[in-house]
């Protein structure tokens, strides 16, 4: 009896696993819900006002700052692809380490971006400077 239950679980896992075509589904959903209004569905942002994420040098150069920006927002000037942006972004404090990791990986692998995948332990490390808002999970 117990064995058959394990079997069913195993095959269910196999089934759903094989149907999953894109690895960052959660990141995609979170991006749609929290980021897309401003950074746009294709990651292009809004010219001169909201920086792009697609092909943005900032992600490669300042990748370690991104988790804190997602969590706490950012105010002041920011240079992306040689252009200065100065629109305040509000943070999304409710996002967990894992969710932030998934968003970053979605961004890193979308719209032609080919940036390295980050792991959540790495993101936890990067979140330390803004620790006051860090949540355990």
């Amino acid at each position: 009896m117990k064995n058959s239950q394990y079997f069913i679980c195993f095959f269910a896992l196999l089934f759903f696993g094989s149907c999953e075509t894109y690895p960052y589904q959660q990141g995609k959903i979170l991006y749609t819900n929290f980021c897309e209004n401003c950074h746009m569905v294709d990651g292009t942002g809004l010219v001169g006002v909201i920086p792009p994420l697609a092909g943005a040098d900032y992600l490669a150069i300042n990748g370690e700052k991104v988790p804190c920006i997602i969590r706490n927002g950012i105010k002041g000037e920011l240079s992306v692809n040689g252009r200065i942006y100065n629109t305040e972004m509000v943070g999304i404090e409710r996002l967990t380490e894992f969710e932030i990791t998934n968003i970053i990986n979605y961004v890193h692998t979308s719209w032609g971006n080919e940036l390295p995948i980050v792991e959540h332990l790495q993101v936890r490390e990067w979140l330390r400077p803004c620790e006051k808002n860090t949540k355990p999970f």
């Binding site: 209004n37 401003c38 746009m40 809004l46 006002v49 509000v90």
Partner: protein
């Protein structure tokens, strides 16, 4: 009959706003001019799209014959409206007033006067003999505005060499979106006040204009950014009549809207 009483299903499926046959007939008989008829049919078509979209939801409840009928009916309404989806002459939209002789007076944008990003007065005379596209936004808006702004920029780019079309963006947060802030915003977007006016002014006066352009704008502390507003882009002709509109967050709808602009510019 699969255990369902006949009749009920057709009705459920037809119960989109204003789609009950009886309403359709009575409303049609009230319509007098051709343009009204067209604008009404336009409305039906939009609802029909909605109706087509949801009709499959009723699929499990109805027999296949009924389903076929509903499908056929919705399809024929849709096809029947196709011609008016792209009418040769754009309809005059907005709530008409009833004149003293019982004739209907089409909705007309009332007088206004605001200040733009270069401190110029922008009023009805600015748009004398020209058509314009307008919307309501505010710079710090965290929801629909960036998407709408992107579509307004598309319109700006496509019609940048067309002297008879201007753009007008009303800020809904004049307290923050001052002339200086709007000037910076316009510079960042790379647009010029020859073409695209971002206006600020008396808050009550701006909010009063929103319903005239068939938009909603109200302060609401529960809404993100503190302002609850719609993102419709409105096309106004040189006689101050609304001729077309679209959802400013939907690029496909904006494509259709730009064709309407093209059509209006070729009118006369």
């Amino acid at each position: 009959m699969e255990g369902r009483s006949p009749g009920t299903i057709d009705f459920t499926a037809f119960s989109g706003p204003g789609l009950r046959p009886s309403t359709t007939i009575s409303k049609t008989s009230l319509l007098q001019t051709g343009s009204e008829l067209r604008s009404f049919c336009h409305g039906i078509c939009q609802r029909t799209n909605f109706f087509k979209g949801v009709s499959f939801l009723f699929l499990p409840k109805i027999s296949s014959m009924k389903y076929l009928f509903v499908l056929f009916a919705s399809f024929s309404i849709f096809i029947g409206c196709q011609s008016s989806l792209s009418p040769d002459v754009l309809p005059v939209l907005g709530p008409p007033e009833i004149g003293p002789n019982g004739d209907s007076i089409p909705h007309r944008i009332p007088d206004f006067s605001f200040i733009d990003q270069d401190s110029q007065v922008v009023n009805n005379e600015t748009f004398e003999g020209k058509a314009y596209v307008t919307d309501f936004f505010f710079i710090a808006c965290p929801t629909i505005c960036p998407k709408t702004a992107k579509q307004m920029l598309r319109i700006n780019d496509r019609f940048k060499d067309e002297p008879n079309l201007l753009l007008l963006g009303h800020t809904l947060a004049p307290k923050y979106d001052t002339v200086a802030a709007l000037n910076r915003y316009a510079k960042n977007l790379g647009v010029s006040s020859d073409k695209y006016h971002f206006v600020t002014g008396n808050q009550a006066a701006i909010y009063k204009m929103a319903p005239e352009y068939m938009n909603v704008a109200l302060e609401d502390s529960d809404a993100p950014g503190g302002i609850n507003h719609s993102g419709y882009l409105i096309l106004v002709d040189k006689k101050r009549h609304i001729r077309s509109f679209c959802n400013g967050t939907d690029p496909e709808d904006v494509d259709r809207f730009m064709n309407d602009i093209e059509k209006l510019l070729h009118e006369e």
